[in-house]
């Protein structure tokens, strides 16, 4: 007799057997089963099979017929289209041997499973009211086989059958026992295949043996679901998990079902499963998994910032972090907020983690959170202890150093802090930080020290143009013309700006600024000697060169007259309009400067110098002014950050001649640029001839603006074209390198993006580090870098 088609037609939900006919629920509907299409041979000869082709149907057989539910038609077959005689038609003989055996042993679990199985096979069958009643079968050997079977000793059953057949050649094995053995063996095969990740085999075996897909053996269902998920059939995996949640009762198994699905299914699918959960006493039966799911959402979004995390998920993880106190939750939230540009919250969580246990990872996160809040000094302070923990931590430490050195106005660093920074920079031979130390020394007017640091930076990174530029500039400030020429000769053809050192308004302005600073500090400060602040120690590994003596002492304990400095900054100083103009020209020039750290420094200084804009504080129509007066007013307005009015003032100044007109055109184009009117800036730039250096600056700024606007409009190729054009006239700034990196990233030129981000990140640029992170996320969708 062939039971399979009837079984498949007759399966009912109550049986606990996976209901394959339920629409949309058959996880096997399209599964190919090579065994299903093959044809058993007739009993004459193998040869005959070949001749007759593969159309024959299996001869009815006591053993299970390998009809597969793989094929929908078969799965939904009714007895009428079954090719084999329907046992139902003639009234099936139900083999109750196993049933009675389990009843006799008091094995209620197996007894119930057997009743369910027989009901599924024979819908019209009713179980005996008292299965124990008819127990005596008088076949102890068969009982023994059932006992072995019930103990899971499948091979021993086979052996017992073999032995008995040897002894009693006419003994017939009960079909039920053979069926059960076949199912048990298939289960083993399925488990073994699952263990070695042969997922197609798992599905093939399951589809050939739907009888083993029951709530009584949830592990099999889990394996099948996993096999679907691992072979890109996630909807079928969802069906299989949902089957368990809709039909199986064990709370532990239900919970474990969702836990297993966690690793295999995307969130949207998981939500489907969660929706099938039950509510017990007002709480989801899956409550304990919800936290894990929320955590995974946070981690996923950490790896890919474009993945949104619901407020509910975040709130849940925060609640768990507070309630459970798990440090891993603190860290996870720290990284999440860091990634999502909320460094203050990131700081809070990293501090919590650090309070529970001090380690490098938490300190690194905290340092990044602090750097992102423009608090690099604290970052340095915290991370110093962990600086050698790993390359990553060291990179963050050096970034903190670079950032703190770039703070303007240059803060007072404690001597020991400077000492250790210098030691670390020297140890790491970090050219970027050495360069920063150069600029820092420069900002303290310690030009000789600055010169030494730039030289050191060049020693570590000979092709570092900004350091060479700094070196030339410092030598020029020190009046070392031969030294300037040395650098200029060495860099001939490799830098646009180094040859102009000594010629340009930037440098002129720098000298003026020095003079101005001296005025502000007070007459006691001798420009020839350093200000009485902590000196920047010279580069330790660099032997002092005899021709550059008078390095400031490394441990000068004198305190900077801080309050006085403040007062001076905030008191409007009477300066000539000429001084205004120089200051603003310098500000404008550095605003456009190729050296971003200088630019940043100056941007901040501008803020401090705000009071100096008092000269144009009133609103005045420039129309009545002379061109020269209008020009001064224009610079003053620029300094006050009122570029629209400045543009009008420059318009009046354009009526002048010669240098005045040229300056006015220059100023106007800067003014328009500042408000983003690039086209008008370009027009202004054509209204008078500029000096070569100004023309370079304006064009560079225009190209930068074009690159930015192209990027904002997602025109990445144009972004790159503008950047390339700009790079031909001036070196690329770190910020623009980052822009370039993102353009590459958006064009999926990951290799190029990585090269650019790395270069900028090495110089301590935070955005570049973020860029590397984004690049990593783009390359590894769905992963968590932490």
């Amino acid at each position: 007799m062939s039971l399979r088609p009837l079984l498949l037609a007759g399966v009912v939900a109550a049986s606990g057997i996976l209901v394959l006919q339920q629409s949309g629920m058959n996880p096997f509907a399209a599964q190919e089963d090579p065994f299903a299409k093959s044809t058993p041979v007739d009993s004459e000869s193998v040869h005959a099979v070949a001749a007759n082709g593969a159309q024959q149907h299996p001869a009815p057989s006591a053993s299970s017929s390998p009809v597969s539910p793989a094929n929908d038609q078969v799965a939904q077959a009714t007895p009428t289209n079954s090719p084999t005689p329907s046992p139902a038609a003639s009234g099936p003989v139900v083999d109750e041997t196993a049933l009675r055996y389990f009843a006799a042993r008091g094995d209620t679990k197996r007894l119930e499973a057997e009743i369910a199985r027989l009901r599924a096979l024979y819908p019209d069958w009713t179980p005996p009211e008292n299965p124990l009643a008819a127990v005596p079968q008088g076949d102890p050997q068969l009982d023994q086989m059932w006992r072995l079977y019930s103990e899971g000793k499948i091979a021993d059953v086979r052996k017992a059958i073999a032995d008995r057949q040897t002894r009693e050649p006419n003994w017939q094995v009960p079909a039920d026992l053979l069926d059960r053995l076949a199912v048990a063996e298939s289960r083993e095969q399925l488990m073994n295949a699952s263990n070695i990740k042969q997922y197609d085999t798992v599905i093939r075996v399951a589809s050939s043996n739907p009888a083993m897909l029951t709530c009584g053996d949830v592990d099999v269902l889990w394996r099948v679901a996993e096999a679907f998920a691992q072979t890109d059939r996630k909807p079928r995996a969802v069906d299989a998990y949902l089957y368990i949640l809709r039909n199986c009762e064990s709370p532990e198994e239900r919970l474990a079902t969702v836990q297993k699905a966690l690793d295999l299914l995307p969130r949207s699918d998981l939500d489907q499963l969660l929706a099938a959960g039950r509510t017990i006493d007002g709480r989801s039966e899956f409550e304990s998994v919800l936290g894990e799911i929320a955590r995974r959402a946070v981690i996923a979004s950490d790896a890919d910032p474009t993945v949104r995390v619901s407020a509910a998920d975040i709130a849940l993880v925060e609640k768990l972090a507070v309630a459970g106190g798990a440090r891993s939750d603190d860290l996870m939230l720290g990284w999440y907020y860091l990634q999502h540009e909320n460094p203050k919250l990131a700081e809070d969580w990293f501090r919590k983690a650090l309070a529970k246990e001090r380690d490098a990872a938490a300190a690194q996160g905290l340092a990044l959170a602090l750097i992102n809040q423009d608090r690099p000094q604290e970052a340095e302070d915290i991370l110093y202890e962990w600086r050698d923990a790993s390359d990553d931590v060291r990179a963050v430490y050096l970034a903190a150093v670079a950032n703190m050195l770039a703070i303007q106005p240059a803060p007072d660093f404690r001597g020991e802090v400077l000492q250790r920074i210098v030691a670390e920079v020297a140890k790491a031979q970090d050219a970027a930080s050495a360069q920063q130390l150069g600029w820092y020394a420069d900002s303290l007017n310690q030009f000789e020290t600055a010169e030494r640091w730039f030289r050191t930076a060049l020693g570590w990174k000979p092709d570092d143009e900004p350091s060479a530029y700094g070196l030339a500039l410092m030598r020029w400030k020190l009046g070392d013309q031969p030294g300037v020429r040395d650098v200029q000769t060495a860099w001939a053809g490799r830098s646009e700006r180094i040859p102009t050192v000594g010629e340009r308004s930037v440098e002129t302005a720098a000298i003026r600024r020095r003079e101005r600073d001296r005025l502000e500090i007070g007459p006691s400060a001798d420009p020839a000697s350093p200000r009485p602040v902590h000196a920047v120690p010279g580069a330790l590994p660099q032997p002092l060169s005899p021709d550059r003596p008078r390095l400031p002492a490394a441990e000068s304990p004198a305190e900077r007259p801080r309050s006085e400095v403040h007062q001076l900054y905030e008191t409007p100083t009477e300066v000539s309009s000429n001084a205004h103009r120089d200051a603003t020209t310098q500000a404008a020039a550095t605003y456009l400067s190729e050296e971003p750290e200088v630019a940043r420094r100056q941007t901040r200084r501008q803020k401090s110098d705000r009071g100096r804009a008092a000269g144009c504080r009133s609103t005045q129509d420039p129309e009545g002014l002379s061109p020269n007066a209008a020009l001064s007013r224009g610079w003053c307005l620029m300094e006050a950050n009122r570029p629209i009015e400045a543009a009008k003032a420059f318009e009046v100044a354009l009526r002048g001649k010669g240098q005045t007109r040229s300056d006015a055109a220059y100023g106007q184009s800067l003014a328009y640029m500042r408000v983003g009117l690039t086209d008008m800036a370009a027009v202004a730039a054509t209204r008078a001839p500029f000096s070569n250096s100004r023309s370079v600056e304006i064009n560079a700024a225009l190209l930068e603006s074009r690159a930015n606007s192209a990027f904002q409009n997602s025109r990445y190729v144009e972004t790159l074209l503008a950047l390339d054009e700009r790079a031909r006239i001036v070196p690329e700034t770190l910020d623009l390198m980052v822009l370039r990196g993102y353009a590459y990233l958006n064009l999926v030129r990951y290799g190029d993006a990585e090269r650019v981000f790395r270069a900028a990140a090495r110089a301590g640029n935070r955005d570049a580090m973020r860029g590397l992170n984004d690049l990593w996320a783009a390359r590894n969708p769905g992963s968590n870098p932490y």
Binding site: T39, V41, S43, V49, A50, I154, E185, I196
Partner: protein, 347 residues
């Protein structure tokens, strides 16, 4: 090519040996002795000389011998183990190695095509003779998978990959590499009957060509176990250039499949046996003896050649069977079973 070629048709007729009334060519006591020594109650054939591991080849031999001994229940035990523990691969073939000490027991999911051929062959025979459509169905699926995944064409010849991965031109510098003793020739027409679309006849041709050409590699005039077909056949890298434990099966398989090519079989006979009829493992390049094997199972192979060609009677300890180690004992029963069925005059 002269020699071992045209024998498949006769094989088919040989194959069809009396499905109904066949007297088992392996006696019940012989099978019992074999079974007691090498068949674990779980249904696995234990390679006693190899850390008691099992492999698909052993399962295939076990199934074939159980079939030849007409022991259906032992066949079922071996089959159950094979199916549960080794027929796990997504392509329907057997994982080749099963280690009782490892978890999971299958440590390498690659297959070995000789094992696959033996398993499919035994299942096909048992399915046919014992009216077991489940076995025939399984054998058919394996035949189709072998035809689809395990054959490749090299220099115009269809050859058998030793395993589905690891031996191809892309896997080894000297790839493709084949093992001439993996051609279980007697199984190929049976595979063809199960899977008529497969290149089974071509595979027989290819095997004969591989054997003939690899016998030309060294002056021993014997084929090595492993042959590189990258250009002119050569002993494969990383294996001894040896007519070894693998290759000694080749003449047995040829004879069982019906070959009576005297020139070919004589060159095996001369090369592989010493004056006492002991089996030699031979350095194929020099012809020097690497090892001499005295086990009656090994000696049964040159003895069978002599029987087939010259009706030379088998020695007493070859005529009877008593188990030694898994491998020579298996070869012994295969030789003996064939002699009993086709050459009773040698007994």
């Amino acid at each position: 090519m002269p020699g071992p070629a045209k024998f498949f048709m006769s094989v088919l007729t040989l194959m069809a040996f009396a499905s109904g009334a066949f007297a088992a060519p392996i006696a019940a006591d012989e099978w019992k002795a074999y079974r007691d020594k090498f068949l674990d109650p779980s249904g696995r054939i234990v390679d006693t000389a190899n850390n008691n591991i099992s492999h698909s080849e052993g399962q295939g031999y076990g199934l074939l011998l159980a079939y030849l001994a007409n022991s259906r229940s032992d066949f079922d035990t071996i089959w159950a183990f094979t199916k549960m523990e080794m027929l796990l691969r997504d392509d329907g073939l057997a994982a080749w190695r099963w280690d009782p000490e490892a978890t999971p027991h299958v440590t390498d999911a690659n297959n070995a095509t000789d094992g696959d051929l033996l398993i499919a062959y035994a299942a096909a025979l048992a399915g046919r003779d014992w009216q077991r459509p489940d076995l025939t169905t399984a054998a058919t699926a394996m035949a189709a998978s072998l035809a689809k995944n395990s054959l490749e064409t090299v220099g115009g010849s269809v050859v058998l990959k030793p395993g589905n991965s690891g031996f191809g031109a892309g896997d080894r510098r000297d790839g493709p590499v084949v093992n001439p003793s993996y051609w279980v020739f007697e199984a190929l027409p049976v595979m063809a009957s199960l899977d008529p679309k497969g290149q089974w006849a071509q595979l027989t041709d290819g095997g004969n060509r591989v054997i003939a050409t690899s016998m030309q590699i060294g002056k021993s005039r014997l084929p090595p176990d492993w042959v590189s077909l990258k250009s002119k056949p050569a002993a494969a890298d990383g294996f001894p250039a040896e007519f070894g434990y693998n290759a000694i099966r080749i003449p047995l398989y040829l004879i069982r499949a019906g070959s009576r090519d005297r020139a070919l079989l004589e060159s095996f006979q001369k090369g592989m046996a010493d004056e006492q009829g002991r089996l030699r493992l031979v350095d194929i390049m020099t012809g020097a003896t690497r090892q001499t094997l005295d086990d009656p199972g090994y000696r049964s192979i040159p003895a069978l050649i002599a029987c087939v060609l010259d009706k030379t009677p088998l020695a007493d300890d070859i005529k009877t069977f008593s188990p030694t180690d898994y491998y020579p004992s298996t070869l012994h029963l295969l030789s003996l079973a064939f002699a009993r069925r086709r050459h009773p005059e040698c007994l």
